[in-house]
Amino acid sequence: MTQAVRNYITFLTRCARIAFVGDWRYYAWMGLLTAIVLLGINAYCKQFVHGLIVTGMGDEVSWGVYIGNFTFLVGVAAAAVMMVIPVYIYRNKELHDLVVFGELLAVAAILMCLAFVTVDLGRPDRFWHLIPGIGQLNFPASMLSWDVVVLNGYLLLNVHICGYLLYCRYCGRTPSRWFYIPFVFIAIAWAVSIHTVTAFLYVGLGGRPFWNSSIVGPRFLASAFTAGPALIILALQVIRAVTHYPISDKALLTLRSIVQVSMIINVFLLINELFKEFYTGATHVASAKYLFFGLHGHNALVPWIWTAIVFNLIAMFLLVLPVSRSLKWLNLACVLSIIGIWIEKGMGMVIPGFVPSTLGMIVEYQPSTNETLISFGIWAFGLLVYTILLRMAVPILQGRLARANEGCGVLEDGLPPKVETAIEAH
């Protein structure tokens, strides 16, 4: 037992150590991210001292980019299943060795989500009120309490799956199916649940007609399964370029077909929503009118949403056309759909729910500089986490960081020399 613990600690220390070594590009990238994180921390300290008054939010628009980013990132985290399903259900070979990268992205995304909710709290010091047992979690009545449960559960599931598989690879052992396959299947259902619950957070509010629509859930899933895999396509190419880890174009094209179908569904659902809002012309259309065309001379969101729509449409055409089989065009389509969907979920979904207010007042929202800095800080933090996780995972998967080469010292690239027996050990 103690030997096992000691082994595990050695593994963790070696992983931690490797996060601090790399070539100059690695240092430059990590340095840049750290600097942005620090700017974010600085901005958050200001917010902590002066209150949420330093944001653009107010009594009318009481949620802003924090909750918008949170919503978007829950989708990114959920989208990891779009790699898991092909691998574990359809036994897709191409994606098999890559699925862990998707799961690690989910871990980083959930951490960002938790950070975004935390900075949105007026009293972060009282977060323990949410912990069942010592606090008072209003479960199951409050959808926010559901979100707390499912997000943390999803985080644990993914940490367990990735951690277990990587550790086995490190030890040169074949993973025992019982230790992870059941969790993989739970995680698949769980991924859908995190985004559904997040949609229900909005859908459940009868006083906000813009959100109180049953299409929000399906739209969330469709847009998540577009933006998430699009992000993974880009990430995989970066991994391939930087680490020479073998990632086939075929794997990227498998993901392309997922993005393709999801984007078509996403646009279709948008059309459904637009039709219902504008054709019936009921009084509740005010928020949608404000979003798409402006209301009584207020039109802060109009440029945002049309940018999103144009980006999504271009991305959709690129994706259905054969041109996007070339990576150049595929990447363009991915970037456009990520930006388009980010806008759609933040500026296009959270904010208009508050405009006009429940008492019919129009107050516009613009994120403040401080709020923007905090948001960038959290994004940089997420990228930092993802980079570190990859920095550990890639050498393990390549067999360069393994039990077999413990105590071998490191070479110039920060990694230990490869010991050939490492993989054949089992």
Binding site: V21, L38, I41, G51, R126, Q136, G206, G360, E412, V419
Partner: protein
């Protein structure tokens, strides 16, 4: 990946180890300095919370002894901040009482006296301004809230062609704000008043998104009240001063109504538009109004929130 020249298993040369040691200490040193610099704004932090407040239990889990301690703490804190010794009580709902409000739209002249009486009574922040009552100026003939004007400011009220509708917490029988709160910081008491434990709220503002009447107000900044304006007659679930980052709203003046007095907004109304009382008592004024008026209005009735706040007309 140009490291193949190193023999596998060979430890790095000592000079390299020293170099990497120097390098990592430099990185850590610079990192610590940068972190310290980024945390600098925290120096301006005034007292944010205390151990006692941090560890305080939920209202419903406090024993009478716990509550006595909490009231003493609040009293101490208020005295320190405002130089006024307050009288803070934990007032519980009375048996056989369910409060409702009725407001006569024919009479209301839109003078906003209730708004200001409420601010004074309930120790609302003057800067930034928080007001529980919002008076809507509405064009004759329509109850469409989207046509309302919140910022009307004429020489003289009432203006021709308009009527005025004050909106505050409707004390819903089915309050969406209570349902959504993730930590039970807000709940409905048996006299029908929905209250907030300001020491338990985590400031997520979900209730604000859920309330269909714009009734909930958030302390985006530290509330400020001039010392000489503080109302020292306080209740735990009522008008005691709030902290930064928590939610508040109209509570039908629990510090008054649970001791048999009328809410401040009612007393000040020059038009006699406001009526308040116990709906369980058939002899009360509100019971009579609700049983005799042919039409009364519950705002946004279609949402099923079932407000305890009724609007009616004289004719």
């Amino acid at each position: 990946m140009n490291s193949q020249s190193d023999a596998p298993g060979k430890a790095p040369a000592p000079s390299m180890r020293r170099r990497s040691f120097l390098r990592s200490s430099a990185i850590f040193g610079a990192g610590a300095a940068a972190l310290a610099a980024s945390l600098k704004p925290l120096m301006d932090l005034e007292k944010f919370t205390s151990t006692e407040e941090f560890l305080q239990k939920h209202y419903k889990e406090m024993s009478p002894a716990d509550m006595a301690k909490v009231l003493a703490r609040i009293s101490r804190e208020v005295e320190k901040q405002y130089d006024v010794r307050p009288h803070v009580r934990d007032l519980r709902p009375m048996d056989g009482v369910e409060f409702v409000y009725a407001l006569n739209l024919t009479r209301c002249i839109g003078c906003r006296k209730c708004v200001h009486a409420c601010v004074a009574e309930n120790n609302q922040s003057r800067s930034p301004e928080i007001q529980y009552i919002r008076v809507l100026k509405m064009p004759h003939g329509s109850l469409d809230i989207e046509k309302s004007d919140h910022n009307y400011d004429p020489e003289k009220v009432p203006e021709k062609g308009f009527f005025y509708m004050p909106v505050q917490c409707q004390q819903c029988e089915n309050p969406p704000c209570v349902k959504v709160c993730p930590v039970n910081a807000t709940w409905q008491e048996k006299d029908g008043i929905t209250v907030i434990d300001y020491d338990w709220c985590i400031g997520c503002r979900y209730c604000m998104a859920a309330c269909p009447y714009g009734a909930r107000h958030f302390n985006f900044a530290k509330p400020s009240i001039p010392k000489e304006r503080l109302n020292p007659e306080m209740a735990y679930l009522g008008n005691r001063p709030r902290k930064i980052g928590v939610m508040e709203k109209c509570h039908f003046c629990v510090q008054r109504t649970r001791t048999g007095r009328y809410p401040a907004c009612l007393e000040v109304c020059p038009a006699g538009a406001r009526k308040f009382g116990n709906i369980l008592d058939p002899e009360s004024e509100v019971s009579k109004i609700l049983s005799t008026k042919r039409v009364f209005i519950q705002l946004k009735e279609e949402l099923g929130t079932s407000p305890r706040f009724f609007y009616y007309f004289d004719v």
